[in-house]
Symmetry: C2
Subunit: 329 residues, 2 copies
């Protein structure tokens, strides 16, 4: 899936679009590789591609899933995805992991992790775009999401491992944000960043099976009490807290029922559409900002000039105001 | 305190610095007005001023206080501030309220609200800078904080009413972030934004007096349980939850004792200094970003061009990628 493979000579943009919109997963894959490319000519073609399918997008339900490593995200997505494909839905799974890189074999990794789903004709699994900046990776994932929608996928799952600010980034691109947790609290939560719990639309305690059932239910009750104390969210939605076992496939259907309820609720009160619009506008301004920064930080010597000033600022020898003035003069 | 009053002709920068560093509150006030000014010549002088006092700063303890309107922030700060000034400490109170404006009489408002403290020779109360952007107001408040430190103030309290993103902004400039709450949960929390609870270093249930005592203690216990489920913070600090009555002045000393404990704890584990440095570097990059945006958004017609594209993006007629490309070409 490297760039030489993608650039099959005789594929014209129109053919790519036709293949993609007919739901062909090979064309979808190629389209995603195109929009992820950093080559100047690819970028131009990618912009053209996205612009030509944009009116075909937005019809899916976008679900973000986060949780610390070890919480069982892949197993959960496998069980959850199969539930949906078995019900006849087309499901795409994308992921945001700014630390991943193609050469680490994350495609194989993902496909192995989601064995059944990867073989399902109604499913499409795509690993995280590689890239040095989270903003860039996030933007590629958003565009991949649009391409999946144009290809007729009805449920898009965006998974994140929660590196850096990736939870916030995922939350800003989905309709529903699901937090998977483990019973026990304390140590297991090390990886979850502060503020994420309150941002979730749903908390599910995974691995509620065998000897864990009791502690999972205890955790559920504790979190229910905690969630009750959180301020209400803009969707006017009380965060449900549930338990599930991805291996025993129990509680998975309940997760879907809550999501379905959320969609009905927010479509009725207007939040669903409002949130989508806000997200798109926010994305636009983030890309403007990213472009401004790219231009600025790529100036010759700028990194050295900044680093020099960071040291002076840290040791209280230079004020931030003067440092900025110097950089811009 | 308007600009004509400030621009007393014969005040030279050196005199301002001398007056300020001797602890004179009138000079401190003038210095803050100077750094808040948007006039080109004032900006130059303000940068010079900040740069000349910068090595004199950083020696205070910076405490952020937030809570919804009606939680009793002013009464709390009055009681808390008096406790500290009575112990011989010099206390400055600043505030961040991007919605405030001088003409609304917020100076008088603040001084009336904190009657005793405003008359205290060891206290200095300064209302929020006015300004259209939160970033600008925040930057002025940071600089005002530095000026207060240069003037020998040992405790700086930054209060915020929690408009927009102001809690996050305050949290990024203080050592300790205190969240005042009321018993009862639910409706009273409408104003607190999601994610703030988990970002607090301390939660205090105010108005624990009279008939409220029981429900306040109940709320404290509930929050204690909730806080226990939060992921650990970078300071390796378990958020204390307490009750107080600002009018009866009970529990106020306990708040100070926790803060003192936090300072000792984080000075020992290195977080105190590390956090300060991270905050300064982050501020630097935020100001770079703000300057880039100022330059970009002040271009002729840019607002119209952006608005036009926002509408097309909202109605899915234009992709974000193409919109950004168009703006930059």
């Amino acid at each position: 899936m490297d760039s030489t493979f993608r650039r099959t000579p005789n594929i014209h943009l129109q053919d790519l679009i036709d293949g993609l919109t007919s739901g062909n997963r090979v064309f979808l894959s190629r389209a995603i590789t195109l929009i992820e490319s950093k080559r100047v000519d690819d970028k131009k073609e990618g912009a053209e591609l996205i612009d030509r399918i944009i009116s075909n997008t937005g019809k899916s339900l976008r679900i973000g899933i986060t949780g610390v490593p070890g919480v069982g995200k892949s197993t959960f997505i496998e069980a959850f995805g199969k539930l949906l494909t078995d019900a006849g839905k087309k499901v795409a799974v994308l992921s945001i992991d700014p630390s991943s890189s193609r050469t680490k074999g994350s495609i194989l990794g993902d496909k192995t992790r989601m064995d059944e789903l990867s073989k399902d004709p109604n499913a499409f699994i795509r690993p995280s775009a590689s890239g040095s900046s989270l903003g860039g990776v996030a933007s590629s994932t958003r565009e991949a999401m649009l391409l999946c929608e144009a290809a007729g996928f009805e449920i898009i799952i965006v998974e994140t491992v929660g590196v850096g600010q990736s939870e916030t980034v995922v939350r800003d691109m989905v309709d529903y944000f699901l937090l998977l947790m483990l019973a026990g609290g304390g140590d297991e939560l090390q990886g979850i960043k502060r503020g994420i719990m309150e941002m979730a639309d749903h908390i599910v305690i995974n691995k509620a099976d065998g000897a864990n059932i009791k502690s999972a239910k205890k955790a559920r009750d504790d979190y229910k009490n905690a969630v009750h104390l959180f301020p209400p969210n803009e969707a006017d939605w009380i965060i449900p807290v549930g338990v599930c076992s991805s291996t025993e496939k129990s509680g998975i259907k309940d997760v879907w029922m809550e999501i379905d309820k959320y969609q009905t609720h927010t479509e009725k009160n207007g939040w669903f559409a409002e949130n989508r619009q806000k997200q798109a506008i926010k994305w636009f301004h983030e890309r403007i900002q990213a472009r401004l920064e790219e231009t600025f930080y790529s100036k010759p010597n700028i990194k050295i000039e900044i680093q020099k000033r960071e040291e002076l600022i840290s040791s209280q020898k230079l004020s931030v105001r003067k440092a900025v003035d110097e950089l811009f003069n």
